[in-house]
């Protein structure tokens, strides 16, 4: 049944074909200075002809380098939103490099340090990419102490000299607050992410700054957070609006949370765009098709993935260069220059 797989060529194959010793072949392929130019080109030619690809296990065993980058993925009970985009874009960016991406998930109730410790202790990757960064994040201290390369999707408070990609959630908070204020909203609540995560703080700070500047204050919906399941959010928002009927603006930190919140609003007889406005983040590219249309900003998650991959490689290969860091401003949908979302058509 199973046809035998033909053996993959190794350095030994090239050695036999060329009459050179194995280490010579190795050094030729690695462009070592003590190999003659003629020999090098001959070896390279043979390697190309027979389709030589270095054996990963041999390489890894000898050098200790794994040529693997691990995406340590905090996941919700209901995984959605932008996870797929993040994974695909990182994997794509690594496609034509020597690196493979492995995905190491952990559960919400678990110690986030566990997968990181495992990877470092067993040397199962050359670098890790972390998401769900907390304001004070034990993983980052752990990795920094050990000099293990990493990149974060999000920042800590003391985002010292570490490579990161982050969407500027402070600017998201500001834009959200400004947009809602301009729409005449006065009592605005935030459906916050878990507050230990730094982007929650950024968002909060940004929105508060604008609201305080306008003589208003920001409410935070307690008891639920944006990571909860859809029905929890829906019910939580409905309950909140019942208790705080004067609320007329909602800021939601994710597309799915916003959609659930909309249903919560409607449960309370609210009409989006009339008795309440919802401001959301579009991390999955179809919020603009959602009805009723929400005010929102776009986040291009694929851009994040591409950058994270590049930054991880640099952290591995050029640890002495200044770390790659990128902070991306929030971009409002529909009106790149201003803060209002005109949309293509109104709801009804």
């Amino acid at each position: 049944m199973a046809a035998k797989l033909p053996k993959q060529p190794t350095l030994r194959t090239i050695s036999e074909l060329s009459g050179l010793a194995i280490p010579t072949v190795s050094r030729a392929l690695n462009n070592a200075p003590d190999i003659g130019a003629k020999t090098k080109s001959r070896v390279h030619q043979i390697a190309r002809d027979i389709g030589y690809v270095p054996n990963r296990a041999g390489l890894r065993l000898r050098t200790g380098k794994t040529n693997v980058i691990s995406l340590v993925l905090g996941t919700d009970n209901e995984v959605t939103d932008h996870t797929g985009q993040l994974v695909s874009s990182i994997a794509r960016a690594l496609r034509d490099t020597r690196y493979h991406m492995i995905v190491t998930p952990y559960f919400p109730q678990e110690d986030p340090l566990r997968p990181v410790r495992y990877i470092v202790e067993t040397r199962s990757a050359d670098a890790v990419i972390l998401n769900r960064i907390e304001t004070v994040d034990a993983r980052i201290d752990y990795l920094t102490e050990r000099g293990f390369p990493f990149v974060t999707y999000g920042r800590t408070d003391a985002c010292a000299g570490q490579p990161f990609f982050d969407f500027d959630n402070m600017s998201f908070g500001r834009i959200a607050a400004q947009t809602l204020i301009r729409a005449g909203r006065r009592r605005i609540a935030l459906l916050a992410p878990p507050l230990q995560q730094s982007y929650a703080q950024h968002m909060l700070t940004g929105a508060q700054a604008v609201l305080n500047g306008a003589g208003l204050s920001l409410d935070v919906i307690a008891g639920i957070n944006s990571d909860d399941a859809g029905h929890v959010l829906r019910d939580g928002v409905a309950g909140y609006l019942g208790r705080m009927p004067q609320t007329d603006g909602l800021i939601c930190p994710s597309t799915t949370a916003a959609i659930a919140a909309v249903v919560g609003c409607e449960r309370q007889g609210r009409v989006i765009g009339e008795t309440v406005d919802v401001f959301a983040k579009e991390a999955i590219p179809f919020l603009e098709y959602f009805r009723p249309q929400l005010k929102s900003v776009i986040e291009d998650v694929a851009e994040a993935g591409t950058f994270l991959a590049r930054a991880a490689i640099q952290a591995i290969e050029q640890p002495d260069l200044p770390p790659l860091q990128r902070l991306v401003e929030a971009k409002p949908i529909g009106d790149p220059t201003g803060y209002t979302n005109t949309g293509q058509q109104s709801h009804r």
Copy 2:
């Protein structure tokens, strides 16, 4: 700066601690029959004490087994829908096994055989998991010929003796058609996935069977397919409704496609639930919160991922067992026994 990483214990460490030869330690840990019971338990104890974990590179080099399962992921230009759930659920299912998951993406315009060939030729995984299965799929022939373990998310026509997980899209097609017919719809169109993919055919067949049985026929919207970007779908559906104004029912094979289609309908002045009904698949768990509410069935993608992981491991480790196969019936939302979607509240 970088604190030196402490060396990981190896067989040699245990060998020195126990005074046994390295191969003895190896055989003891692998429960070989020619090692004494006392010795075995002593070795296991030491291994546990010092936290021994076999070195993957050494293992891989010696045995040829990679302990890696590769998810070969066909991606859209706009990756969304259930990719994130699929990735996370597979990775989760592999968490407490010896296997790591690497993600190998390929682009829509690329040869889908390429990544598969790469994996097989370089032996970079012990098994692959494939999605986007076509009715006649070159990758499957390739893998079968070579006896390389694989699992498919979807089926070929000749789904011979291969392990697979599939949602029964024929039953989806039937339920969709039945639901729309019962809602009084008479002119029903399918926003089809690319027709070379087998689930598109299944869906088509299922819907056609029911419609033909009722003396109706199924239209297929030409020129666009459900993988296209949101605005393409929106415009495509709007254009179609312009040309075929008698259309009163739409079947959409994904959540995002459905949402875009709804906007296309509204563009043409249609009112969902009144002048047109949209039937969709809920592969991301918030379609039920979408307004206007659509008629739909649920697919639990995490279930697929878990099963695919298990099936892949069995294909690797017990190739002689009958392959794991699962076909999951479509489950209508809101009414598990019938075909109508009552929803929790109507739109407006």
